[in-house]
Amino acid sequence: MNAEEAAPAGPDLSGIPPELSRSMYRDMLTARLLDDEAIALQRQGVFPAYVSLRGQEAAQVGSAAALDTATDFAFPTYREMAVALTMGVDMVGYLASHRALWHGGLYDPMESRFGPVNAVVGGPVPHAVGWALGESLRDGPGCAIAYFGDGASSEGDVHEAMNFAGVFGAPVVFFCQNNQWALSVPVEAQVAGGSVAARAAGYGMPGVRVDGQDVAAVYEATRAALRRARDGGGPTVIEALTYRVNPHSTSDDPGRYRDPAEERRWRERDPITLTRRALERAGHADTDFFDAAETGARAFCEAARDGVGNAPHPAGSDLFSHVYREPTEALRRQQRVWRDEVGP
């Protein structure tokens, strides 16, 4: 063997029920196709912009599949579409945030146990610690999971949240998708010391680094962290090494800062291809399953695409709805000004 360390062979599904491996494959494939549809919607001018998760399907589906959607709660950023999909969030409502119909999205976050889409980098991470503390105060069974990236790991919010979680022993999983790039800044210029997981010790909790392209490794690491939290063992940091294959967003031009050869190398470690190989090797799935999975995924994506594409624009009056639960007279006056001077 030459000096280059042999990359891991890909997911080892032996510890996972075959039906779960198959469903994770289906969710990853659906997320991939929905991501392509969303990029197309941006090209057609239906979305003003879109942030692709291509390449990160295993990190998102593997972690989300480990959640107990009856008791746990996920706090996403703006790139966790595959987590939402896996948790059963209404995808038309989710994609509405990318069509800029409503900032947080048009799904019910409480009902879905999947927080509103959040554009503030690192912003929701302390929320996850608060939610988790709220769960442990009433000895509830639930755990929180906070999603953030290598860029967000530099934010004060994230450091403060991790310390709080360590101090309170809160049942929360800090799930960092280290996709190597925060817009134009590579991870070596973002994460001092090179590892987000290594910082966990400083905050009094275990830190785990996993191959983000390996859906089995991600699933098992997340499940172990959630079980630890449920058993009162407190928080965990999981750092999934993955890659942002597409530009930061449809408004980004990676030609200015990144080498296409690096993109091609990672594009060849496609999490979906790796999962398919593992399913075939383990004998968990045949070509009929793969064909059915693809047909089902395409149908789902077309329905979601048409659903969000045909969703009505918010009415102008929505400017004023939900500002308060108990609106003030001053705000009602302003709404009258809007109706008289601006309204359709």
């Binding site: 030459n2 280059e4 042999a6 062979a9 890909g10 060849e268 291809t273 075939e280 090797r281």
Partner: protein, 254 residues
């Protein structure tokens, strides 16, 4: 190269990778590189991964023993056409492909031919690049290769390969001896496997390929203008002819 094929003793035998379009309804395309090259140099850098993905095909790329990331045994018996063809068949088993299309270049074409002959039914269609019936080792001093003693047609190819950083001269010499030990013969020909031969106009190694193709039941030849043995492989005409030729297999078989 993220996958490893193990041999019967559980030792790594060969490194391979899977890529291209996902999902794809067609059988995968097996890419077999030439002497002294590897998957990255022969195919990825020459633009074949993108070309196959854009035509909706999945691909399986290998680094042959003695090359790239694969082990480098020094025993010529591990490098005979029959031995390497058997290894390629096991790669197809590992990726769960009962049938595949194959694209080879130079020595890779010789091995693709051998695979089609030794394992009937495993190769649906084959594109054999930079290949001809003439025995490349005819005027080669096989024992003096490492010392660079031999001139001849193959000597220059060997010298260039040995000069590559990370090359294992002894392994390459063993590979040459293994290949030379089973001289190519046009018969038996692969049964029921449509063939497309592609070579640069100025590729001496492909001398006689037209007469070879004429003697075969289902074979075509494409010559690439102004191209030679070394720079034919990245030609757009080669890629488009190959993807079009392989696409003709759609729906015909199994």
């Amino acid at each position: 190269m993220d996958q490893t094929l193990l041999d019967a003793t559980g030792e790594p035998a060969l490194r391979y990778t899977v890529g291209g379009a996902e999902p794809s309804r067609e059988p995968p395309v097996l890419l077999v590189h030439g002497f002294g090259s590897d998957f990255e140099l022969n195919w990825a850098r020459a633009g074949w991964v993108g070309a196959l993905r854009n035509s909706g095909r999945r691909l399986v790329g290998v680094d042959l023993p003695g090359h790239g990331g694969s082990p480098r045994p020094h025993d010529p018996e591990r490098y005979t056409p029959k031995a390497l063809a058997a290894l390629l068949a096991r790669v197809l088993d590992a990726v769960g492909a009962p049938e595949a299309d194959v694209v080879g270049y130079s020595m890779g074409s010789r091995l693709s031919w051998q695979l089609a002959v030794d394992f009937p039914g495993r190769v649906r269609r084959a594109v054999l690049g930079g290949f001809g019936p003439v025995d490349a080792f005819e005027d080669t001093d096989l024992e003096g290769l490492e010392r660079g003693a031999d001139g001849g047609r193959f000597g220059a190819v060997f010298a260039a390969a040995a000069a590559l950083p990370g090359a294992d001269t002894a392994a390459l010499a063993a590979c040459a001896r293994g290949q030379a030990s089973q001289v190519y013969s046009p018969s038996p020909a692969p049964d029921g496997v449509p063939l497309l031969f592609v070579a640069g106009e100025r590729d001496g190694i492909a001398e006689g390929v037209e007469s070879l193709a004429a003697a075969l039941p289902a074979a075509e030849v494409l010559r690439l203008p102004r191209r030679d043995h070394r720079n034919a492989v990245s030609a757009q005409a080669f890629k488009s002819a190959a993807t079009e030729f392989l696409a003709r297999g759609r729906g015909l078989s199994g």
